[in-house]
Symmetry: C2
Subunit: 207 residues, 2 copies
DNA sequence: TTTTTACTGTTCATCAAATAACAAATATTA
DNA sequence: TAATATTTGTTATTTGATGAACAGTAAAAA
């Protein structure tokens, strides 16, 4: 399958979550315009995304929710699942760990790392925190491919260099520093301050 | 000034942060390609954004950092600043509150809200947590215009309805539910699960 | 002084994403 | 049965964002 646009991947993830919610409401089929309404987008957008992944519905009954959930999984999940580590077990690290609790996804948070003795060896939401000195060994033992970076900004660059050199393949960066990674490592950055400043700008402009 | 594209606003916020960093390094002028390198974008993109806000440099010396910081502030900040409240003082709420500590921005986190007696009346990073029952009163007393939503997903929709009805103008939503707000309220959504699933997809595809 | 070099501001071209348009398919109604 | 209504899959159009090209300008070098 051809590589999908990033935006489509994001929406597929959101579709799946919405669909799981609909299943919980004992629905079995859903129309494109209903799914669209759940995400506040247009029905065309939904149909176009599903076209890209080659999913077809039973005409006039809508999409089979269970089937669609499975199809989305086949596309965006790795067959065997991927293992994730939280790097930096401060408030944010704990928050993210908590988010994953109980969610049966193909992404497994298998470890957390920190250098603070207060945090090392503690277990949060079922995830054990190791000293970062053990990262190299545990990275390969536990087959960790994705790192969620939630360390203080001044440590962001140094820690990233280590993650990369020990073989991490994807990084989700929550620090406020902009990182440098090689071609073969996928990097997604999220900056809270920027997000709030953006909200503030549009609030100001709306008045 | 005409409303700027959302992407440009995001970059302006990032430029400013990078510029403040350069100031700290005792630099006074910066070239477009240098600023671009700090954000891993192209020099053209930088010049284009600055063109949009009508900022001109001293030719061949680069941009005056102090002046540019001020210009960006004039564009994206509200003249008097805006007040922000954190709704939900779990790990994520505390993390965000901490992010703002010590940053002299025009955005002031003036209050936090929760319903858990364990959290109410506690002070975190200089921000006091109130019971959400007081939101209506404090919203207007403290002139809160922006809410950062960090409550459990099942409460997202109900809490949002209240924020809106009591006059909030912008919401940054960190819950995993998709919210509905009226036209005049600006909504920015961020979904961690989606972000990590996106990283996972591109890690999988890169191999 | 003249030439070269180094940047900028702006226009033009390309690429990606979102929206609109519409033929095809099937259930429902008349 | 024929006509209508509903929903899909796909193509075409528009919009928006990014990247490339280039003329203009000032400092530095010759």
């Amino acid at each position: 399958m051809k590589k999908l646009p990033g935006k489509t991947v994001e929406r597929l993830s959101e579709y799946r979550r919405a669909l799981l919610g609909s299943l919980a409401d004992n629905r079995s089929y859903i129309f494109s315009h209903e799914l669209a309404a759940l995400l506040h987008i247009t029905a065309v957008q939904v149909r176009r995304d599903l076209m890209l992944i080659g999913y077809g519905s039973v005409m006039r009954k809508g999409y089979d929710i269970r089937e669609l959930i499975k199809t989305i999984g086949d596309i965006i999940d790795a067959p065997t699942g991927l293992n994730v580590a939280i790097i930096g077990m401060g408030n944010l690290g704990r928050a993210i760990t908590g988010y994953f609790m109980g969610k049966r996804t193909k992404l497994n948070v298998v470890a957390a790392f920190d250098i603070d003795p207060q945090k090392v060896d503690k277990v949060v939401s079922g995830v054990k925190c190791y000293h970062f000195d053990n990262f190299k060994r545990l990275r390969s033992e536990l087959d960790i491919t994705i790192g969620v970076l939630t360390v203080p900004p001044d440590q962001g660059k140094a820690v990233t260099a280590q993650l990369v050199s020990y073989g991490i393949k994807g990084i989700l960066n929550f620090t406020t520093v902009s990182l440098n990674v090689p071609e073969n490592v996928y990097l997604e950055e999220f900056d809270m301050i920027t997000s709030i400043e953006k909200v503030a700008y549009f609030v100001k402009e709306n008045q």
